[in-house]
């Protein structure tokens, strides 16, 4: 982040053109780790603007390259022509007799070429210190530097944008998963409550059943007691009630097997 910000400071708003309005301050506040969706969208727009600027500089750089090549070629050709004319001029000056007309003509041809060489290549004619070729080289170098800086800024912006968007997507995914989990938990809770209701109803039924069983048992006991009472009164007449009950309860049960055999004999003719 600081590297990118340094670039924006160094590049200056003028170089950034339309995207330089408040990019520096905006970018200073941007943190890909905590960026909001709106900030991420804004960063995407900024990255796009940087890409457009890079494309512009690319075009300018190609133009610069062409200009340097053209000026270099022209300077080379001008020097060749100047040497040729210089040789002719020297020959004309040293001829016997001197060809004054030729000297004048050659000088008239040579002078503008020399001026052109100075214009293109500067005082020493090389284009390494001053002149149009030097200026063109400087311009190309400056544009190449701008290009490198803008490429770096664009790469950083894209990385930040990708990181921030990835984090936002991840957070959104987490949130969706948590929401689903909460929904599932609520559903399970509701189901559990419904299940709990059913279980409670079943237990209550059991209790009622037990009560009914108990009541039935009580009734059966009460019925048996009444029978015993009646039987005791019928057999002992005036006997103590308790002893009658005891005798009934201890009385051996009837032998049902005998009844079964008699029934068998009856049924089989035996």
């Amino acid at each position: 982040m600081s590297g990118t910000l340094d670039f924006f400071r160094k590049a200056g708003l003028a170089k950034l053109g339309d995207i330089g309005d408040n990019l520096t301050s905006w970018y200073a506040q941007f943190d890909p780790e905590t960026a909001s969706a709106a900030e991420i969208a804004q960063l995407g727009d900024r990255a796009n603007a940087l890409a457009h600027r890079i494309a512009e500089i690319q075009g300018k750089l190609e133009h610069d390259q062409h200009a340097v090549e053209s000026l270099t070629s022209k300077l080379t050709r001008d020097k060749q022509a100047a040497q040729i004319l210089g040789g002719r001029l020297k020959a004309a000056q040293t001829a016997e007799p001197i060809d004054a007309g030729m000297v004048t003509q050659l000088t008239a041809q040579l002078t503008p070429i020399l001026s052109e060489i100075e214009t293109l290549g500067g005082e020493d004619g090389t284009g390494n210190k001053d002149g149009q070729l030097f200026d063109a080289k400087q311009t190309m170098q400056a544009d190449a530097d701008d290009m490198a800086q803008f490429r770096s800024a664009h790469t950083k912006a894209i990385n930040d944008w990708t990181t921030a968007r990835s984090r936002l997507d991840h957070a959104r995914s987490d949130m969706e998963r948590a929401a689903q989990q909460k929904q599932d938990a609520m559903a399970r809770q509701a189901q559990a409550q419904r299940d709990a209701g059913l279980l409670h109803s079943a237990a209550a039924g059991g209790i009622a059943l037990t009560a009914m069983d108990r009541r039935a048992e009580q009734l059966r006991t009460e019925a048996r007691a009444a029978t015993i009472q009646a039987e005791g009164l019928r057999h002992a007449g005036g006997a103590d009630t308790a002893s009658i009950v005891d005798s009934v309860l201890t009385e051996a049960p009837p032998d049902k097997s005998a009844d079964a055999l008699s029934r068998l004999a009856k049924l089989t003719g035996g």
Binding site: S70, L71, S73, K74, T76, R77, D78, Q80, A81, I84, L85, Q105, Q109, P112, I113, E116
Partner: protein
């Protein structure tokens, strides 16, 4: 109308702000009618050193006195005629808006045939000189051979007939009919840059007569031209 009144009317017509401006031809580098151009001596000197017959004595500063337009094989040619060249012109070959070649042509020779036989020598269908596979320079220049550029094969072909539409600086239009053929020869390479010299041959028919004209041509770079566009030069 007296002469004084005629002159005043004429002057008012041409000098008033409402006066119609003469039409201009849209040219590469804005080299239209009334523009000025300085031609660097460098390409002339280098070509001359490479063996070209085009001498480097062409004046460097010119105005464009008229512009010619013609088409050959679908290529549009625009010729800017130079005020100090006695028929020299800078020719741009264009396809659409793209300039595919820029050449400087300088008059080399002019012949005015005096009889039908002489015309047949130049334009005869069987053995006419214009359209032959090879033509030569003048005897005093060594009869240097130039190969035909247009058209394949070693048989003579008919010259290209086309009309050049002329528009001069005053806005006056005229036309020239050409029966032309292009030839070329290679020059000695200078600093690893091969170059060629062209020989353009044409029977030029004007409203008042016809002649056989030869131009020597060479490729030049835009950087060799410094143009000072006329104020009304189309951009």
């Amino acid at each position: 109308m007296s002469f004084s009144n005629y002159f005043r009317a004429f002057k008012e017509h041409h000098l008033s702000p409402q006066a119609p401006k003469p039409p201009r031809t849209r040219m590469p580098l804005r080299l239209s009618q009334d523009s000025a151009v300085t031609i660097s001596a460098t390409p002339l000197v280098l070509n001359e050193a490479a063996g070209s017959l085009i001498k480097s004595d062409l004046p460097s500063d010119h105005k464009i006195i008229f512009v010619g337009e013609l088409a050959v094989y679908g290529v549009q040619y625009l010729r800017a005629y130079l005020s100090n060249g006695d028929g020299a012109f800078i020719q741009f070959a264009t396809r659409g808006d793209k300039v595919v070649e820029t050449r400087l042509y300088k008059p080399y020779a002019e012949v005015i045939p005096a009889s039908t036989d002489e015309w047949n020598f130049w334009l005869g269908q069987q053995n006419g000189y214009i359209g032959a596979p090879v033509v030569q320079s003048k005897e005093e220049d060594g009869l240097l051979p130039y190969q035909r550029v247009w058209g394949q094969g070693d048989q003579r072909i008919d010259p290209i007939i086309t009309t050049e539409q002329i528009l001069d600086a005053a806005g006056v239009r005229s036309s020239l009919r050409h029966s032309l053929m292009l030839y070329a020869r290679a020059l000695t390479a200078v600093s690893n840059q091969s170059s060629a010299e062209y020989l353009l041959v044409s029977v030029v028919e004007t409203p008042s007569g016809a002649s056989v004209n030869f131009w020597l041509g060479m490729d030049i770079a835009e950087a060799d031209l410094t143009v000072f566009p006329a104020a009304d030069a189309p951009s």
